[in-house]
């Protein structure tokens, strides 16, 4: 009984950790981007300052908006924070894994996205509609790419339960067979999907200031104060979850398989942090190196991701 309690405590702890450090990850990515542009850049803590300021600011809401507009930030934050409960972070399992698997996580992301897309439409501005229609296109195509990636991962590692697949991945690494061809292709696809889901270049430009080119930001143009803070925070949580998942699925090196000792747990935590930092730097660096793609070339990129996963499937079967 006490062991279960410990597990739950650890699970809650690692969830809170990912939620709390998600903005920091955002700050680090911005810092890396700034440095590659020969700039000093904002402090890595800047996202926290921004969130704190927004929480203290007043709100201005559109006279056209309905209750959906006001509910959306709450739904987003609750859905993404709940999704964070399922993801194994420092340890190869999450004690809440029995309540849901990776598909539940996707469903929760879908719920958040559903509401933010509605919020974009709710304010009756052309920009909101613009953002929603682009998001509709991208999300409709991200879904098959992501599902197929999960297909490959679950075929290779057995099941869709996050804890079991991450544990399997960690186990495979120990036995030295991480380089499975199917997983490599899944990795490519997952990386593309990760960029699309977290709204980064070449899909969306998180630094853009032009209404006509925005995707995600066009939907949240009308938000201010507390609501905006919640949206930005849930966006960073989502990105952190995807990075954590990527790291734990594809590069599980250094992950402790259980909570036996303090030192293995510490190694696990340290290696996880190192890997996530490296990955986020890589993402930021790639962002520096490419331009945002033409809107109607994005389906090609997602089709490539789908094809890559499909090749992964073939490799598994053949």
């Amino acid at each position: 009984m006490s062991e279960t309690l410990t597990l739950v405590a650890i699970g809650i702890f690692q969830t809170i950790a990912i939620i709390a450090f998600a903005p920091l990850l955002m700050g680090i990515m911005r810092k890396v981007k700034a440095r590659t542009q020969k700039r000093l850049g904002a402090s890595v803590l800047q996202p926290y300052y921004d969130l704190l300021k927004l929480l203290k600011k007043d709100e201005v809401v559109s006279d056209q908006s309905s209750w959906i507009f006001r509910a959306a930030p709450w739904v987003m934050l609750v859905a993404t924070a709940t999704a964070a409960l399922f993801v194994p972070i420092f340890l190869p399992f999450s004690p809440f894994g029995t309540a849901g698997d990776i598909l539940v996580m996707l469903g929760l992301f879908g719920l958040a996205r559903f509401f933010i897309m509605l919020a974009g439409l709710d304010v009756a501005s052309a920009f909101g509609g613009l953002g929603t229609s682009r998001e509709m296109m991208i999300s409709a195509l991200v879904e098959p790419a992501l599902f197929l990636t999960i297909f490959v991962v679950s075929l290779t590692l057995g099941g869709t339960n996050l804890s079991s697949i991450v544990a399997a991945s960690a186990g495979q690494f120990v036995s030295g067979v991480l380089i499975v061809p199917s997983m490599l292709f899944a990795l490519i696809a997952f990386f593309v999907v990760m960029l699309a889901e977290s709204g980064r270049i070449p899909f969306d430009n998180p630094a853009t200031h032009l209404e006509l080119t925005m995707v995600h930001e066009a939907m949240v143009l009308e938000y201010s104060g507390k609501s905006l803070a919640m949206i930005q925070w849930s966006q960073s949580i989502k990105q952190a979850i995807l990075l954590a998942l990527f790291v734990n699925l594809f590069i599980p090196a250094g992950m402790a398989s259980s909570i036996v000792g303090i030192d293995t747990a510490a190694t696990s935590v340290v290696s996880f942090i190192a890997k996530v930092l490296l990955l986020s730097m890589l993402v930021a660096f790639i962002e520096t190196r490419t331009a945002k793609w033409r809107l109607f070339r994005l389906p090609d990129l997602l089709a490539m991701a789908i094809a890559s996963s499909m090749i992964g499937v073939l490799f598994f079967y053949l």
């Binding site: 981007k33 590659t36 542009q37 020969k38 700039r39 052309a126 920009f127 509609g129 613009l130 229609s133 682009r134 270049i201 070449p202 430009n205 630094a207 853009t208 200031h209 032009l210 209404e211 006509l212 080119t213 962002e287 520096t288 190196r289 490419t290 331009a291 945002k292 793609w293 033409r294 809107l295 109607f296 070339r297």
Partner: protein
């Protein structure tokens, strides 16, 4: 001029300007058509002035630029007056043959209350719908301090695209980026742009009217602020117009310094535009690097002129700054470093398929559109028109510099003509052309510095102006040709009329044509690649 003989009342030649006064205003369309068709000339400005006090009528001057080897401007002049009490004066419209005249005619109607008969577009242009009717700011009987009352409830009638599923995207005047204000009304079907209309003149601040209250030297400062980033080109055009009226000869060193500064202005602005294009395609690395170079150039501006935007370079009859050996060395060093870095960054941008892909075939302006609308500058050259005021109407020290290396030898010319025909007028073409011009400008600065005369920087002659004397001044800014028409007042120390026509004023209508084959998210790239000034257009 045989055919037009009896319809022209008088003809007057003033250096490279030919002014023909028409016997009757009804001959305007015929005279204009004649100039375009028979003399291969192009309408480049339409100037109206309220000369009721001196000659009892409003005077309209349709300025044509003869296209080809000769450096000649022809102005068709006509008079019109109120035929009866409370009835606005009118002239026949020429828009049917000259689509580019539509902005001019609408502007003249707003500012002078002169109606262009037959112009189907009767919407207000400069004075937005909330201005009460019957206000004509450029008439002499309008006091500049008048605060006009505000009408409410009127709306600007945009073209309403019919059809189910069409929606309008209103953008501006407050844009998301750090840019000037203008309103764009897209009619879209999803991402496809069906129609675009622009609503400008948000930054209208009465520059032309204000100039009429100023002394000549004060108006020079105003001319620098027509468009802050074109200060050298605009003040140059203004100074040259006055110098032409007074027949002043400017010291050669001053002319060369004018050219050096004009080219420096071109460099820093082109760098800024290229950086902007890079930002708009979402390639922040390129824009960060190019912006560093732009900052270098602006710091250099500050060193040589005391202003980061080169304010205070030109003076009537010369220049206000001198370049000593230290500064010249600094110019050479800085431009060299900029060029090296620039070439490196550009070669990287060219290898980025994601950048090139977004620019290629985006915002196409065909040669026909460019010709019909009389576009100028980089936009026109990218569309395949061979126009450059520096070469076609040489001014300042440009006759002594090889502005255009393409026209040096017959082989080069041939090659260039073939090259022109291939140009598509897309954003990539404009991008490449700007890159080329930056390099060319640096070369020209080198040439000018190596050949710099030891001379005064300001003419020692006194300015001998005659009352109501007038002339055209022109220059090629980084956006294209800017033409100023200056008419001095009776006291010879103030302006009677100052008509400014910047490159942006003619190039703006091009954007409505450029976006038609594009999707909404590519609009910022189209806009940036055209590099239009709002302030220079709105005045």
């Amino acid at each position: 001029m045989g055919r037009m003989g009896e319809k022209v009342k008088s003809c007057l030649v003033n250096s490279n300007e030919v002014h023909m006064l028409l016997a009757d205003k009804s001959n305007i369309p015929e005279a204009c058509s004649y100039l375009q068709d028979e003399l291969a000339s192009k309408l480049c400005s339409l100037i109206s002035s309220d000369e009721r006090q001196t000659s009892g009528a409003f005077v309209l001057r349709y300025v044509f630029e003869v296209h080809g080897k000769e450096d000649v401007f022809i102005a068709v002049t006509a008079r019109t007056k109120e035929s009866a009490e409370n009835q606005l004066p009118s002239v026949p419209s020429i828009v049917k043959k000259f689509p580019l005249a539509v902005f001019y005619e609408r502007e003249i109607r707003d500012m002078f209350g002169i109606i262009a008969d037959g112009n189907p577009d009767a919407r207000p242009l400069v004075l937005h719908e909330h201005w009460s009717a019957g206000v004509y700011p450029l008439r002499k009987d309008f006091d500049i301090k008048t605060k006009v009352s505000r009408d409410t409830g009127k709306e600007y009638p945009f073209i309403k695209v019919e059809g189910e599923g069409i929606c309008e995207i209103p953008v501006g005047p407050v844009h998301a980026g750090i840019i000037e204000p203008g309103h764009f009304r897209f009619s879209v079907l999803g991402e496809n742009i069906i129609n675009l209309e622009t609503r400008l003149f948000y930054t209208h601040k009465g520059v032309e009217k204000l100039a009429e209250t100023m002394k000549l030297d004060q108006a020079l400062l105003l001319s620098e602020r027509i468009s802050g980033d074109e200060s050298v080109a605009n003040s140059l055009a203004y100074c040259q117009a006055l110098e032409k009226i007074a027949h002043t000869s400017v010291p050669k060193r001053a002319l060369q310094i004018r050219c050096i500064c004009a080219e420096m202005e071109r460099i820093y602005n082109h760098l800024g535009t290229l950086a902007g294009i890079s930002t708009d395609v979402g390639f922040s690395y390129g824009s960060a690097r190019l912006n560093i170079l732009k900052e270098r150039m602006m710091q250099l501006n500050s060193v040589i002129s005391g202003s980061r935007l080169l304010f205070g370079v030109n003076r009537i009859g010369g220049v206000g700054i001198d370049l000593d050996a230290e500064k010249l060395a600094m110019i050479i060093n800085t431009t060299q470093i900029v060029q090296e870095d620039f070439e490196k960054i550009i070669s990287m941008l060219r290898t980025k398929s994601s950048v090139v892909d977004r620019l290629r075939n985006t915002g196409i302006i065909s040669k026909k559109v460019a010709y019909d609308l009389g576009l100028v500058g980089v936009v026109a050259r990218a569309a395949g028109l061979d126009v450059d005021t520096r070469r076609d109407h040489p001014y300042a020290a440009y006759p002594t510099v090889s502005v255009d290396t393409h026209h040096d030898t017959p082989q080069n010319l041939m090659e260039y003509k073939v090259n022109l025909e291939k140009r598509k007028g897309d954003a990539l073409g404009r991008f490449e052309l700007r890159v080329e011009e930056v390099i060319d400008s640096i070369r020209m600065i080198d040439e000018l510095i190596s050949d710099l005369y030891d001379d005064n920087i300001l003419t020692t002659d006194t300015l001998r102006l005659e009352p109501y004397g007038y002339a055209l001044g022109y220059a090629e800014s980084h956006r294209g040709q800017t033409i100023h028409w200056v008419m001095v007042g009776q006291d010879c120390d103030s302006l009677f009329r100052y008509k400014i026509r910047t490159a942006s004023f003619v190039n703006w209508p091009g954007i409505e044509q450029a976006v038609l084959s594009d999707i909404v998210p590519d609009f910022p790239i189209v806009n940036k690649s055209l590099d239009l000034s709002y302030s220079g257009n709105d005045l």
